[in-house]
Structure formats: C-alpha cells, structure tokens
Amino acid sequence: MITGHLLSIDDLTRESAMGILSTAKELAIITEGPNKKLPTLRGKTVVNLFFEDSTRTRISFETAAKRLSADVINFSAKGSSVSKGESLKDTAQTLQAMGADAVVIRHSSSGAAKRLADTQWIQAAVINAGDGTHEHPTQALLDAYTIKQHLKQDSADLSGVKVLIVGDILHSRVARSNVLLLTKLGATVTLVAPPTLFPVGVENWPVKISYNLDEEISKCDVVMMLRIQLERMSDSFFPTAQEYSKRYGLNSSRLARLSKDAIVMHPGPMNRGLEISAESADDLKSVIIDQVKNGVAVRMAVLYELLGGAAFGEAKS
C-alpha cells in the first residue's frame, strides 16, 4: 500500500511499486467484466487540476476515478480564473473548501505537485500527473505494467529487461520517472539522445548513455520513443526535424533490427514520421495501445491505494 501522496517514483519502494502493479492487475481483471464499475470510492471527490493541456492523461484519470465510483471534477486552467492570474495557492484553497479528497495535478512548473503536498494549502492526497520537466510517476507505472505484461508475466519484477529510452531526455518527465522506476524494478536502462538533449548531471543516473541509436537498437527488449517537440529546433537542440528523424527516429529499418520479442512503446501523443514512423507505431511489436489501456488500471490502483477505498474483497463483491 502507498499512503499520503504520489509525487515522485522516489516516494515508492520496490515493494510498494510492485504492489501497485499487482493491484492494477486485479482491478483490470474486474473491469474487463460486463460491469466495469466498482463502488470503492463512492462519496470521494477527485479533482483533475490541469494547468497544461493533456487530454489523454486527464481522460485516463477521469475514467479511472469514475470506474471506482468517485465524483470527478475537471478543473482546467484554460478559461478558468487561473488564466486571470489566480495563484496555485488560491486555487488549492478553493478546492480544499470544496472538499476534494484527491487532487490530480498537471502543471508546467517542476515541483508544483510537491509544493501542493508540502504546504498547508490543501489537505487532499496529491497525485502528480506531470510536473514541468520533473516527473510523471503514473506514466512510469503504466509503462512498467505494460513491460511486465508483455515480457515478464510470471516474474517478481523486471530483472534483466533491457530498456532503451530514446529522445528528449532533458525535457522529459516520462524519462525521469521511468529511469527511477525501471531501475528500481531490476531493469537496465540505456538512454539515447543527441548530447544537446541530455541534462548536465545525467552521468550520475544509474543508466548507460549513448548518442547512437543504431548501436543500441538490436540489443534491447524494449524501445521507448519519446515525443520530440518541434519548438526545440528553434532553440538549436538539433538542426532540422529531418536530421533528428534520420538519426534518432524509429523507422522501418531500425524496427527490423529489433530482437524477435522486443516491444515498441511511446507515451503519446506521437509525432508520426518524426520520432516514430507510421509502420513502427502500427507494427505488431507496438504496445502503444496497451499502454493507454493499462494507464486506466494503474491509475485506478493509485487512487484506490491513496484514498484507502473499501477492503479489496469487499470491492470485488
């Protein structure tokens, strides 16, 4: 069980992370039945507080909360008082006054979720749904779940799995959370990017660093492609989209060099033709749709554990 908040993968032990994954698995089995809904969080209010647009993450959390019978409020910064300059503190206090039990926060500022949890602004459980260029812990959990589902179904963890994460490591909260979680679960991680897209200080991470995708592509069990944002080009992180795609994109020739059982992942949304070709995204090796599906189960597990729903057996009945 986890208690309090989920702000960073650092909050989790190996055991608590595995616990979430197994809770998610049980919840997934239940919700595959004809009645997808559980009464577990009836009477609880979950607020999706999104200061950045992210339709897919918001919908995933919303679906997860609704399947557990929680009331869901979507608070989007766009068009709300936040765009008129209301502070995070005032927004948090407003949600507190309205009786939120959990706040799922997406914010462009690294550490915003941690601030919500550390200050006295709000008492609710805080779930980090992506803070700036820091972390996105539920994405890492759903990625670990998906890797386990495809490659390590019967193992205790992800020991021995070789994961390649390719792309904009510098700005990626997905990469940070995945490095922490996958290594915690026994996987070995190699990061591939042009040197401009690694943070200074990455040498202290428990990973291998490479600038060359072609040298690594055939050695991995999992290749996770990160979304590349085109505005990085104007900041001279790389010369052109074509050059990036050519050197760091997952195209059909690289796809062909993957080992037989390897899987292709992407946190979405994809730039087809840029970091991932259409044929790679749609290939049998691609588990991208599974990631989306598993996201709901994993987020259900997180909400379930944090909000301390009814005992699990009870929920099943």
């Binding site: 502070s87 550490g111 940070r176 200080g201």
Partner: protein, 433 residues
C-alpha cells in the same frame, strides 16, 4: 558619551569616549571603574559593517522594503553603511532618483545610505545612464551597477568602464551571460538534472567574469564582481589579481553556507540569483575569501513580499534577505571553522568595502580620531533566527530556525547609538552624543 568595558579584537578592555561623532579617547579599563553612559560588559567592539550590495526597493516596491525598514534591518545586523542597488522603480539611473534615495537615507538617519547608480538607462543594457550627473549629485555616486541584470553587451561594458575613470568610479558587474541562462532556475548540475529545473551553469558567470577582466585590463579601469558563486570564478579573479588588474570581488553570506541540494523540495525560499551552488564551490568561496582573492562580503539583501515566495518554484521571485544574519553566518562559516581571524572579518566586512567604495567615514578601526561608527557583538551567545522578528519588512530569510553564533547588541552611527541591547532606537529617540 562614554562606553565602558568594550573589548577590542586584540583583547584589551577599554572605555571609549565619543565626542562630535568621533572617537575622542580610548582608555584601558582600570579596576576602579567610573560611571559611564553605556556599559558594554566586556563585549567585542568592531568597526561598523559596510554593505556594498543592498536592495531597498524604494522607490517603487515599498511593500517589500523601504529605505527606513532597510536601514533598520541594517542596524540590527551591525551595519553602519549600506549601498542601495539601482534596480528600483523608477530605476536609479538619473541624479534625481539617487538624490531621492540619498535623502530618504538621511531622513531615516540610522546608517549611511549610499545609492548605487545604474550603468545603463532603465537597466536595459543599451545606452549609458547619466553616470556623470549621478557622480556629481549630492549622493556622490561612485559605484554603478545594473545588478539583477548583466551588462552583457561587451561594447557598453567597455564604454562604462572607461567613462567612470573621470571620477574614479567602479562598475559592479552582475556576471550572468543571458543567453546561457534563458529561463534558468537553479545551478546546473546533478540536482537540476534530477529534479528537472532549467539549469544556470557556472560558466554563464565565469564567461562574463573572464571577458570583463580582459576589458578592465585593456581600458585600465576598476571592475567589481558582484556575488561571486563559483570555484571557477574564484580562479579567474585570482589570476586577474596576479596580473595586476584592478578587480575586486564580493561573496554573499548565503553562498558561503547553502548548497543547491536544498532546492530539492522546491521551496522558493532557496531561490536566489545567482543560484546556490555545490559544496565544492562553497569551499572555494570560503578559501577565496580567506586568501583575500574575494575582497569583501556583501549581503545582496533582496526583500520580497510573502506572496512572491508562497507559490510554486518557477513563479517565485529570486532573492533572500540577508542584512540581519550576515555577521552571524560569517562567524559560523569563517571564524568557527578557523579559516579567518576577527581581524580578517573586520577587513572583509568593513574596511575593504569602505575602501572600495570610498566611504571615507566608514571602515575605520576603533582608534582615537576615527569616526564613531562601530558595532558591539556578544560573541558568547548564539541566537535562533525567527523570520517574524526581523526588522526587514520582508521575511524571506533562508535561515529561519537556524541557530547562529554571535549576537549584534549595539550599533553606534556617527557617534549616535542606533541599536541598544538589540533594539533599534527609533528616530524620535535618537540622542546626540
């Protein structure tokens, strides 16, 4: 006025007689003690501290600090002279604004308030401010700085260095290469990589220091480096001094004690520009200060209202208040570690800054005929910093709850007691000697 039982740094116990703002007589204490006006009870007396880097926020942001509240904070910290940075609103880039600040300082009457003039109009870095007019004004400005912003254009920097030679001025550079620090939030290194905040690399500071050293050498003018924070910067200044280039440098108390791992909880109380660096940098700064490569300590006292720190990291303002903790932090980091003596501390916090700025009545030893600007410290006591008890109008100290050594108990400014037993003497009660 006679102050009895004051201990000099050489250990002698003396009575100090002040007359007309000047130390008239110093006599060793005899056994049969005469009655005095104020008994220092054996506490240490040192020259009044001099700060060359203070943000007072007036005019423009009187909600964070005024010249009066800043003066009160200065007195509480043992300072007898401060230097008001130019980044007010309006910017101190004309004789009118610096004279206004100067007059407000006189009206507050607690410490010398010496305005610093902007180098460029509006701090925009494009066109020189009225340097000569500010120098000739009643404020007699000699230090010019765009602090908060770097004079990044090399040609403007060159011209400024040249121009101020007429009146023996000095350019105090906030060394920050702007293109290397776009949206920068904290020191670039392992911590920023892990917690995902945009990095402010050490080289962005060092690149400007290196360039300006060469410019100062070329035009033979005086350069002062504000708030040095990196080991590499210390190396560069050491090199420049060996070459005989006219360069001086300052370090803040917070950069002598705090490191970037404090940022991990994203508490904006640790958000400051230049940012907190690594342990290695802190040690290099301490060594640089001990060696004299770094000439002075300056507070970079930067008051901000609560709402500018009670928010998420990126939305928060850069800066920390520092006047009231500076001396204690120096005792903790430099004296208790035996890196410097009290003699050195007095040099770095009073004598050297007064000399650099040309504050002729400040930075004088406790000796007959010298101006009576001095501070009495209880070195046997420590105190626990309580931000709510600060004199500064803003409470953004990173040291809240810290136990720090040495308590400033009394301050005499031009012979008038402005701090008595730890309490600021309010203006109406200021007595003449």
């Amino acid at each position: 006025m006679i102050i009895s039982n004051a201990k000099l740094i050489d250990g002698r116990l003396v009575n100090i007689k002040i007359q007309s703002g000047v130390i008239h007589k110093i006599e060793e204490v005899q056994k049969s003690q005469k009655i005095s006006d104020y008994d220092a009870k054996g506490k240490l007396v040192i020259p009044g501290l001099v700060d060359l880097h203070t943000h007072l926020r007036e005019p423009g942001r009187e909600d964070s600090e005024t010249v009066l509240t800043g003066s009160m904070a200065a007195v509480a910290g043992g300072f007898t002279a401060i230097s008001a940075m130019a980044n007010t609103n309006p910017v101190a880039d004309t004789a009118g604004v610096v004279e206004q600040v100067f007059r407000l300082g006189k009206a507050a009457g607690l410490v010398d308030v010496n305005p610093i003039g902007a180098v460029t109009k509006g701090l925009h870095g494009e066109q020189l401010a009225e340097l000569g007019a500010m120098a000739d004004s009643i404020a007699r400005v000699r230090i010019f700085s765009d602090d908060g912003k770097c004079v990044s254009d090399p040609l403007i920097m060159r011209r400024a260095l040249e121009y101020v030679k007429t009146f023996n001025g000095i350019i105090a550079q906030h060394a920050q290469e702007p293109r290397l620090t776009v949206n920068a939030q904290m020191n670039e290194g392992s911590v920023s990589a892990r917690i995902g905040l945009p990095g402010w690399p050490a080289i962005a500071e060092e690149a400007i220091i290196a360039r300006d050293i060469l410019l100062a050498e070329h035009v033979k003018s005086r350069l002062h480096i504000c708030h040095l924070t990196t080991a590499g910067g210390v190396e560069l200044v050491r090199w420049a001094k060996k070459r005989g280039i006219q360069i001086t440098a300052e370090v803040t108390p917070h950069h002598l004690l705090l490191t970037d791992d404090l940022v991990e909880n994203y508490d904006p109380i640790y958000k400051v520009n230049p940012p907190l660096r690594t342990e290695k940098d802190v040690m290099a700064l301490r060594e640089g200060l001990a060696e004299g490569v770094i000439d002075i300590v300056a507070t970079d006292h930067a008051p901000h209202p609560a709402e500018d720190k009670d928010c998420e990291w990126q939305a928060a303002a850069f800066g920390m208040v520092g006047l009231e903790t500076a001396l204690s932090v120096l005792v903790k980091t430099m004296i208790e570690t035996k890196m410097i003596s009290w003699n050195d501390l007095i040099d770095r916090m009073s004598i050297a800054p007064a000399r650099i700025a040309g504050y002729s009545t400040q930075g004088q030893l406790i000796a007959e005929k010298n101006h009576a600007n001095f501070t009495i410290i209880d070195t046997d006591r420590s105190w626990i910093v309580n931000r709510d008890k600060l004199q500064s109008q803003s409470k953004n100290t990173p040291f809240n709850g810290y136990e720090l050594p040495a308590v400033v108990t009394d301050v005499f400014h031009n012979g008038v007691q402005v701090l008595k037993d730890g309490a600021v003497v309010s203006r109406g009660n200021l007595a003449n000697d």
